[in-house]
Symmetry: C2
Subunit: 342 residues, 2 copies
């Protein structure tokens, strides 16, 4: 088995820099796009054979060093009592957003795996299919990311509802975060038990809070959640999007790997994080629209910066953009492997 990714997570020596791409199982891949014509996005998520198939597609087609479970962060909280819908125009949304203390009170923290069994079934298929090849990364949204989705009801531009709850009604917000954290811990532990060999926490709206408020309202929940995962024994990757001002806090969140977005210089981030953690990132995703030579040069710049880290997992600074040519994604993976070997 190619364990380069897992070794880099732990800061162990590697023969080359491992690479995978956020949203590598996405619409830019032909098989994914073809399936999406036949069924809706949420059905894809909820059908283990299909979710497993699209998870595997980039492993075969691109040669990446890790697979990441195909799923959507919004599905996780459905068993808590959230009513998840999907609009073609705007993606997943909740028809019953959480606005009041009573709304938060009604949310349940399920004590069994039933409502998310389709995810664990997908992981079990993948663990079997990927055996002897590359590791599988399981994932979830962070408590803050899920709180944002549940309060706003959908992707938000201004996070008005989230911010108002945090600052006007912090006790309700804390209760919400605590419920989500407990549910998410159980969800991630179950993914590891089913066969995920690393777990990634997407703190997708971490940048909503500046350092002062990140420390008070977000960090304690992230730390507690990562503590809850200790028993799994698998590496934990924390990705706080847009929160470059909070690197010192991320450093101490308990994760083995800190994901770095494209808003930071990777070398600067590594200096701020020190040598207690590995890093993952951070090529500007739209470089995938440049030509092969330009992609190669940009890969070289990121690899050079990554050398100073305890361990470096090459990735984009955000997801693969829609419309990315598959050949260019393959060229990126090849460039990482070729340049980091020499």
């Amino acid at each position: 088995m190619n364990d380069t990714f897992l070794r880099a997570c732990r800061g162990e020596p590697v023969d080359y820099t491992p690479v995978w791409m956020m949203r590598q199982a996405g619409r830019f891949m032909p098989r994914f796009a073809a399936i999406l014509k036949k069924m809706d996005f949420l059905t894809m998520c909820r059908t283990p054979e299909i979710a497993a198939e699209v998870t595997l597609e980039p492993v075969d087609a691109l040669g990446v060093d890790a697979a990441i479970l195909f799923s959507d962060i919004t599905t996780t909280v459905v068993p808590m009592g959230m009513d998840l819908k999907y609009a073609d125009s705007n993606g997943p949304y909740f028809s019953n957003p959480v606005r009041t203390e009573a709304d938060v009170g009604r949310l349940v923290v399920p004590q069994d795996d039933e409502g998310l069994m389709y995810v664990y079934d997908t992981v079990r298929i993948l663990a079997r299919e990927l055996a002897g090849r590359v590791p599988l990364i399981g994932f979830a949204g962070s408590p803050l990311a899920m709180a944002s989705f549940m309060i706003e009801g959908a992707m938000s531009r201004n996070y008005t509802g989230l911010r108002r709850m945090i600052f006007s009604n912090p006790a309700t917000f804390e209760l919400l975060m605590d419920k989500i954290r407990r549910h998410t811990a159980r969800y991630l532990c179950a993914q590891a038990k089913a066969g995920a060999q690393a777990l990634m926490l997407f703190d997708s709206f971490a940048g909503v809070l500046g350092p002062r408020d990140f420390r008070e309202f977000n960090l304690p929940h992230v730390r507690r959640l990562i503590q809850d995962l200790e028993g799994t024994g698998v590496p934990i990757i924390y990705f706080g999007l847009g929160a470059g001002g909070c690197l010192d806090q991320m450093r101490d969140c308990g994760a083995d790997v800190i994901g770095i977005d494209a808003g930071l210089d990777l070398g600067v981030a590594i200096r701020a994080l020190g040598n207690g953690v590995s890093v993952q990132g951070n090529l500007e995703p739209y470089v995938l629209f440049q030509d092969r030579d330009q992609i190669g040069r940009r890969v070289g710049e990121v690899l050079e910066q990554g050398k100073t880290a305890r361990g470096h997992i090459f990735n984009l600074g955000h997801g693969v953009p829609p419309g990315t040519p598959v050949d260019n994604a393959k060229a990126l993976v090849d460039a990482v492997h070729d340049q980091s070997r020499s």
Copy 2:
């Protein structure tokens, strides 16, 4: 005249820390809200007596140390050939977004003031009304902010069109940025000529580009624009939202004042910027939903950090949120004045 704001911009000694708030002339103010019930947003922008009235409202009601022209960044590029509309649901948008080289080629750089005369008329009214009171800040969107709006056609969440043009078609993007920069320079110089005593550049989507690409695709245009404004003799404020990873570049962009958003620790930002520039910022805006004591404590924290700067203009880290209680905004202004005097 209260010139505390201008003195802080230049790093001269002040008796107290001056304060104003981004979007202080906004919907949370009662007179503004009442006018908006009688006419649409763009008509407000284009009617000098009305635009002047709402600009003055917070000066009277809140006691801020500067007024900022009420306008919208989108209106600036209408004389270049952009067709500006307004949707109640989603704000201003352009019905003819710029997508191709031919679209960019069609854009004009007007050689007279005619298409924006209503702005200069507003500034002239304000210069008269504010004489002996507080300075007036004129403003514009940065070339990147306007390019984003013109390419996407509206506020965007993913900036897909912008990023694709930058990376797939950099020559077209450069031409677009150059046209916008020339037009914006003329626009800002005319505001200064009409009586604006400081000029602010809103680089509202600066965080779209990481440090590597900010340096190549954004900074040269910002620097050139600020150079174009040298003849005005007024202080220049540059605000690059979400671009905390680019502070070293902002430091050298030529501005007198660097606006700091709520994503950064102000003390950390000041250390990165050094003593060649003043800073403006950066209280978390939603603190305005806390009570008066909490607002006072948070003001104190920001003032303490601001002490290390060459000059500090107190502001929020982003605009005043919708629904902000006017009393709380007033409490913030009073807290800044009281605490910084003692």
